[in-house]
């Protein structure tokens, strides 16, 4: 073979590798965020499709966290919260023009209940279309009472897809056919989703005709895309990019408190950490304001309790600010008999330097900086902290096999928009949940949860929620460090932008573009 022929063959081979033509961005609205579209399955990447308003859930959530009708126009439950009936909104079409029926909803929810997600954690006896009712109704029967079921049905993993979305043999999602105001125009996994307006949408027609979601891996890249005018909205900005964008005239930065808290997860079964004075000392040694101001650059984000102000009744304003107090922290450690020889840099525990390990992960870059700040702050009370940067999965895996000592995590408290559901999951078993407290139980908290399970009076629910928050702040099974502020860069040409603190929707359908 002549070398020229060889080279030509090689080039042809290389050129033929890309099978598909990626979309060019002629969309009216371009959004960039760090999320990758790894799959079309709502259990895996449903949050992208609900945020882009392609998929919808039976239940919606307003900015205050109140449940609102979604694809279900109303719902009722039995007095014991075991029988639930969801009336399906009439005259709703899927993107393939087939009607939304109770059978389609029951099919979609049944598949969701078999996939990992909050619905699969509930003991369900049956999900069935009620053919006897005058309206289209889906009947869900539970094995045990479960008050927050409606909130679970607001989670993206329970989004409703048309029966044609699923492969017949194994229910693998082959195509995303939803009911939202936008339908998939072109999907280039894992980096791009181009959508166009769905003309037969049941609600108000959106003003923006098409929207393009582009995965931007790095915060600075996303910020530069906005600065350059290539993108209209960029999510998850880092502090440095925020400072840069705030100097741009055509851009504004939205900062919204979201239900996510940076906490130190503790193994409460550890011989030292199971003692409240030890947990209190570690908490007192934290300079939360310094972390919030210096690393997150949001001084008001310093957290004195697990549930932040965005969580309504679960935020207890009467809890005192958590200020650094090294003297008190050292006194508590002294009382525990953890000696600190004058010549030593570390306190001693069983004759050895008092050392703890902390796992954290790089997906949220601020966690690593905060972990090293905590390392320095705990050194001030003679506690040596080794920080291990791992994959996020090391936290629930370490919880399960008992090897975890401490972990710095950014806990999402809103995957189901009802903290009660989260607490039920965390305290269902003495082992706890992968992201919740580890090896900690409290009869007082269990009592409060039992009361909440049987209460429908809003005033009483609020009182119980506040008591639960106080208890968690006193007992510190998780040590809160700071609340999250989500920073989003938005072009000033956009009107109607609103950040959804529950991170369920980008709100594209409510926006319009104003030409300068």
């Amino acid at each position: 073979m002549k070398p020229f022929t060889l080279c030509a063959t090689l080039l042809l081979l290389l050129g033929g590798c890309s099978r598909e033509q990626p979309p060019s961005s002629n969309a009216e609205l371009v959004i960039s965020g760090p999320f990758e579209i790894v799959s079309q399955d709502p259990a895996e990447a449903g949050y992208i499709f609900t945020r882009m308003q392609v998929l919808e859930t039976l239940v919606d959530v307003d900015p205050d966290g109140e449940l609102q009708p979604g694809l279900a126009s109303s719902w009722q439950h039995s007095a014991d919260f075991r029988d639930w009936r969801f009336t399906i909104r009439p005259a709703v079409s899927f993107h393939n023009q087939t009607p939304l029926t109770s059978a389609a909803v029951a099919n979609s929810l049944t598949i969701a209940s078999h996939n990992p997600g909050p619905l699969s954690q509930i003991a369900i006896s049956a999900i069935e279309a009620d053919t006897t009712a005058a309206d289209a109704v889906v009947h869900i029967r539970l094995e045990h009472p479960y008050r927050p079921l409606a909130a679970v049905l607001a989670n993206y993993s329970t989004a409703i897809l048309a029966p044609a979305s699923y492969r017949a043999d194994d229910q693998h999602v082959e195509q995303v056919i939803g009911t939202g105001p936008y339908q998939v125009d072109q999907l280039t996994m894992p980096h791009r989703l181009l959508t166009r307006r769905f003309d037969n949408y049941w609600g108000q027609q959106p003003a923006i005709a098409s929207a393009d979601y582009i995965t931007g891996h790095r915060s600075e890249t996303r910020a530069l895309m906005l600065q350059n005018g290539q993108a209209d909205i960029v999510y998850n900005l880092d502090p440095a990019s925020v400072a840069m964008l705030q100097q741009q005239q055509h851009v504004r930065v939205s900062s919204v408190a979201i239900p996510r808290t940076i906490v130190i997860k503790l193994n409460n079964g550890h011989p030292l950490l199971q003692q409240l004075p030890m947990r209190q000392a570690l908490s007192l040694a934290l300079d939360r304001e310094g972390i919030a101001a210096g690393i997150l650059r949001v001084p008001e984000a310093a957290a004195n309790q697990l549930f932040g102000p965005s969580l309504g009744q679960w935020f207890n304003p009467s809890i005192a600010a958590a200020e650094r107090n090294l003297q008190q922290a050292n006194q508590l450690l002294d009382q525990l008999g953890l000696d600190w020889p004058g010549a030593s840099r570390w306190r001693l525990y069983q004759g050895q330097p008092l050392t703890l390990e902390m796992i954290t992960y790089a997906n949220r870059p601020e966690l690593i900086s905060i972990a090293t700040a905590i390392q320095a702050q705990w050194a001030d009370i003679g506690v040596q902290l080794n920080v291990l940067v791992d994959n996020s999965s090391a936290v629930p895996a370490g919880h399960r096999n008992g090897t975890l000592q401490t972990a710095l995590i950014a806990r999402n408290l809103a995957s189901v928009p009802d903290i009660f559901a989260l607490l039920l999951n965390d305290f269902r078993t003495p082992d706890g949940s992968g992201w919740g407290p580890m090896g900690w139980s409290s009869s007082a908290l269990s009592g409060l949860l039992t009361q909440m399970e049987n209460t429908t009076d809003p005033a009483q629910l609020r009182q119980l929620a506040q008591q639960a928050s106080s208890l968690l702040a006193q007992q510190l099974p998780l040590i809160p460090v700071s609340w999250y502020q989500q920073r989003t860069g938005v072009s000033k040409q956009l009107q109607g932008f609103r950040f959804d603190p529950w991170e369920r929707s980008f709100g594209i359908a409510d926006m319009s573009i104003v030409k300068p």
């Binding site: 073979m1 590798c17 890309s18 990992p116 600065q227 350059n228 399960r400 999402n412």
Partner: protein
Amino acid sequence: MKRMLLKRLLQLLLMAWSIGTLTFVLVRSLPGDMAYRIAAERYGDDAITNAAADAVRAELGLQLPAWQHYLNWLGELLQGNLGNSLVSGDPVIDSLQHQLGFTLALVLGGLLVSLLLALPIGLLAGWQRDRLADHVSLLLSTLIRAQPVFSVGLLLIFLLALNIHWLPVAGFGELKQLILPTLTLGISMAAVSSRIIRNSTASVISSPYYQFARIKGLSRWQTFCHHGGRNIAVPVVAYLGIQTVMLIEGVIMIESLFAWPGIGHALSHAIFARDVPMIQGSALLMGVLFVLINTAVDGLCLWLDPRGQAT
């Protein structure tokens, strides 16, 4: 040439088996629970639960002994099947075709830019050895090589996308979105390849056979065409081959900065997720490419300098 191709084919088969086996052993030796890793990549950080990890373990048969997984992979490979991704469930070959196309576009574009820059600069510096052009080229080359490719990319974004608004910052789908990443790659590559060309040129034009050609009356141009071009090209082509091979595995920073969906970024995600079939498939494909590129380079070098046939 035929003998060389046959030898390379045998190398290819051996390489496919050894790379697949090595990546399998290495990934299996990494610490951490595979089921949790895969669940994290599939469902996201917030949704990793014990139930999700257990479902993944049962679905993928992760509780089975490693040797069974290895034999399954080997059996599938013999049938030309790279398996399915443990994360997405899609065939590995589909993902590779999609991602590799983007990476190759980037690498070939970068190579083209690098040649367009490095050839004139390197030849000029070689011709003017130890004079102003050579010193300036050395200074620029050192300055650029001292920068991480990431900061060269950022500088180009500030210049071409933010100041004069000629190009988009990032993304893919249009030809203009390829320009900034290829320029970044090309400039970084040219910083080294221009010096290789310079050295090769300087060495050839100071060689006795080249001087003799000039003495016997050939013009500068005739001498260069008949005695310079090919001799200068041999080390340069060999170096460009190595550089291309290194680029295919090393473009991850460029892909990440410019939100370009290439194989480097996909491979890093696969490693984080312990997506063994995806890692094996990517490594295998890269190995195949390396052999093909090296074969092409060897063929080109033989054509440029047929004396190599004898050895």
